[in-house]
């Protein structure tokens, strides 16, 4: 039952990504050209709701569906890993026009060349693991 729920939420996410154009290479290009409000509107709406809900959950110590407290793990403090890692991510995001979630939504929609990018993403992830100890964090 729980397994079905994860599948269902993933499906909602995939539909939302695809139908809103967040999985479109064109929308990402347009965003980085500052030609349209569209992507900023998507992120802005999502964040406004998410910030508010996160605040309310913390303030009222809301429990999850199983009755456990909802935890928010703070991210480790650092600058180089977020900045340098982020820049690499941004270069790839703009070139392929898709971040990891949309890549899989596009694969499901049948745009098979995106599978090449998915293979690349797995190689990139693996490469990070291999050279991690030599990178500034």
């Amino acid at each position: 039952m729980k397994k079905l729920a994860y599948l269902f939420v993933g499906m909602l996410f995939g539909i939302g990504m695809f139908k809103s154009g967040a999985a479109s290479w064109f929308r990402i290009y347009e965003m980085f050209q500052f030609d349209s409000f569209h992507m900023y509107g998507i992120m802005g709406t999502a964040l406004t709701i998410a910030v508010l809900v996160t605040y309310l959950i913390k303030k009222n110590k809301v429990k999850d569906f199983s009755g456990n407290p909802i935890d928010f793990t703070p991210k480790e403090k650092s600058v180089p890993r977020y900045l340098i890692g982020g820049i690499f991510f941004g270069l790839g995001w703009a070139l392929g026009g898709a971040c990891p979630g949309p890549m899989f939504a596009l694969a499901g929609a049948g745009f098979y060349p995106i599978l090449i990018a998915i293979v690349g993403a797995l190689l990139g992830t693996w490469f990070y693991g291999v050279i991690k100890k030599w990178l500034p964090h």
Partner: protein
């Protein structure tokens, strides 16, 4: 029904993302898609090459199910909730810039047929570009400890400064790619 078949407005997209985050929180999980890439590397045996992939990936099964759901969602959205070719409406200005880059499918397709058409598999340049794009996304998201979902949505909604730094990085990279490198690539 016609409204559903058309491209959805930005606020509906935002609602779906917020709903995803909130539902996962209430299921006791944190929204972060790129963790799946690490999990998949581990499943493929990357643990033999370095410790980073030696972890109990079975605890991430829920996220893999989420990923399978995302694939299904893309299938449903394209085949049942869109009218082919599901073209993304773009401003004239954007179409013109893309045409100048040689991307003629702007405004007539969901993603550029120049990069994602079936001919892509026959062009070494296209294969190389897609492979490189993916490589940067995979490398960058693990280095930064998260992608758009983990940082721009989960992290920022919890007001995490590291996530803001990562999102600034996403933008620096994206702006360099689109404004400096695109004219050299296309």
């Amino acid at each position: 029904m016609d409204l559903i078949l058309q491209p959805w407005p930005w606020y509906v997209g935002g609602l779906f993302i917020a709903a995803t985050l909130i539902l996962l929180l209430f299921m006791g999980k944190t929204f972060g898609f790129s963790s799946n890439l690490r999990t998949m590397c581990s499943m493929l045996g990357a643990g033999k090459t370095c410790d980073f992939f030696c972890f109990n990936w079975k605890a991430q099964t829920w996220n893999l199910l989420f990923l399978v759901g995302t694939i299904a969602g893309g299938f449903i959205a394209y085949h049942f909730l869109s009218v082919e070719p599901a073209a993304v409406p773009l401003g004239e200005n954007t179409v013109q810039k893309l045409n100048e880059l040689g991307i003629e499918s702007a405004g007539q397709a969901y993603i550029p047929t120049e990069l994602f058409g079936s001919e892509a598999f026959g062009s070494l340049k296209t294969i190389g570009l897609l492979l490189l794009a993916g490589f940067f996304v995979g490398f960058g998201s693990r280095y930064a400890g998260g992608c758009t979902s983990g940082h721009a949505i989960s992290g920022l909604s919890n007001l995490q400064l590291p996530s803001l730094i990562a999102v600034i990085g996403f933008f620096i990279g994206g702006l360099i790619m689109v404004h400096v490198l695109f004219p050299l690539i296309f």
